[in-house]
């Protein structure tokens, strides 16, 4: 079991900066994030977008802001559980919390700060009626281990870079026995050289490229056997396949946090603006995931929220210790 002072759920900008403010109070943090790298939506959705409303930075790219935050908190040696999403929150008799991830990693701390932003990033799932019936029975939304597809017939769906890249990978490395790429449009919007490669592979007969078409049906008996592909002009084609891999990017959802006994309003966690505490003692929510009268979903507001939350976190962890605000200009930053 991982032990720390504060478990921070979500490693976006607000979660990261909360580590800094906690560190000034000599509180250690462990962050959990469903994405494989820190940064949250800044890294996942808009790393190259400029942000203009971070005080003191006339302009900063989202990705650079995350890099800088990581540098800023380095001295406080935050620990990370990445690529795993927090699924359960249990309370011990001492009012400590145990947060468990989808992979079973357990974390214990007296304080939990939820900085979950938009929620958990999950694969965008195409609207196929019986899709869920075949999950892990031939339908996968993420390719974890390419070897899994050795000598299999694979249908990939999507028009972005991941669909193109995996198509190329499975063919070039002679993994899948047959690869079909299904895309709703004629043109692809991925990197030009990937598009060219896929076109060449289609011309050479190394892949089956089916454009202006969508996968609309799945069938099989306990395991995927075939997919139905609907072409805009040619109608339905039934194609035998061992695997169907829809690659349509990621989309966020509030996820399991909704079942943690927290007061939820408009898909966000209700907090008290005194210290951004939730209705559960010792659990705070900061950044885009919380709501209160006057809430603005701004990074700079999240920085403020995290700063106030850790003051109450300190009071909970050290009820008998006095704490006064110290300026970094006076004391510097003393790491662990």
């Amino acid at each position: 079991m991982i032990q720390t002072d504060i478990i921070i759920i979500g490693a976006g900008p607000v979660g990261l900066f909360t580590v800094f403010e906690a560190g000034l109070l000599k509180l250690r943090c462990h962050l959990i994030d469903s994405l494989p790298v820190p940064g949250g939506q800044l890294t996942e959705i808009y790393p190259k977008k400029p942000i203009y409303d971070i005080p003191g930075f006339p302009i900063v790219n989202a990705g650079d802001l995350i890099d800088n935050l990581m540098k800023q908190i380095e001295v406080f040696k935050p620990q990370f559980t990445l690529g795993e999403s927090a699924v359960s929150l249990e309370e011990t008799p001492e009012n400590h919390f145990i947060v468990t991830t989808n992979k079973g990693t357990k974390h214990q701390a007296p304080v939990v700060i939820i900085a979950g932003g938009l929620g958990v990033f999950e694969p965008r799932k195409p609207p196929i009626e019986n899709l869920a019936d075949f999950e892990d029975k031939g339908v996968e939304y993420i390719i974890r281990d390419p070897k899994f597809y050795q000598d299999k017939r694979v249908v990939i769906s999507g028009g972005g870079d991941s669909a193109l890249d995996w198509t190329i990978y499975l063919v070039e490395n002679k993994i899948a026995s047959e690869v079909s790429l299904v895309h709703r449009r004629t043109s692809f919007r991925g990197h030009l050289d990937s598009v060219q490669k896929v076109m060449d592979m289609a011309n050479d007969g190394r892949i089956k490229l089916i454009t202006d078409a969508e996968v609309v049906g799945l069938s099989g008996n306990g395991k995927l056997h075939s997919v139905t592909i609907r072409h805009t002009t040619m109608g339905d084609i039934v194609k035998e396949a061992d695997h169907f891999v829809p690659l349509f990017g990621l989309t966020p959802s509030l996820g399991p946090i909704a079942d943690w006994g927290l007061e939820i309003e408009k898909n966000a966690v209700k907090v008290n603006t005194f210290d951004y505490s939730t209705n559960r003692k010792g659990v705070f929510a900061v950044g885009d995931i919380n709501t209160y009268p006057g809430k603005l979903k701004l990074i700079l507001c999240g920085f403020h929220e995290g700063t106030l939350a850790v003051q109450s976190a300190f009071a909970k962890i050290y009820p008998n210790k006095k704490n006064v605000l110290k300026y970094t200009t006076v004391n510097g930053v003393n790491g662990f």
Partner: protein, 114 residues
Amino acid sequence: MVLTDSDFMENTIKVHIIDREGEQHELDAPTDMNMNIMEVCKSYELPVEGTCGGMALCASCQVYLESSHELPEQSDAELAMLDQAFHVKDNSRLGCQIRITEEIDGITLRLAPK
């Protein structure tokens, strides 16, 4: 000079939104607030998520254009996002990419399924 309500209404257009239950909503949308359809829908608490905040990066504000209004050409970013979205039709648009201007006064848009 005293400003009255009608002075403000001068910079307002009508937007018709058909929600996912088929109900039509007539919204007043200001042309001088640098707003887009996604934001106007949110301000009226219609069920539009606008997850990415209007960067054409999530398609949660997809709408179908159901009136004959001519809209500016779609950006590459919008087309790329619609490529990854579902329930996409020829008249699909991202609400966040439709600016509130006088040219779209009286426009009718239907919210795409979630």
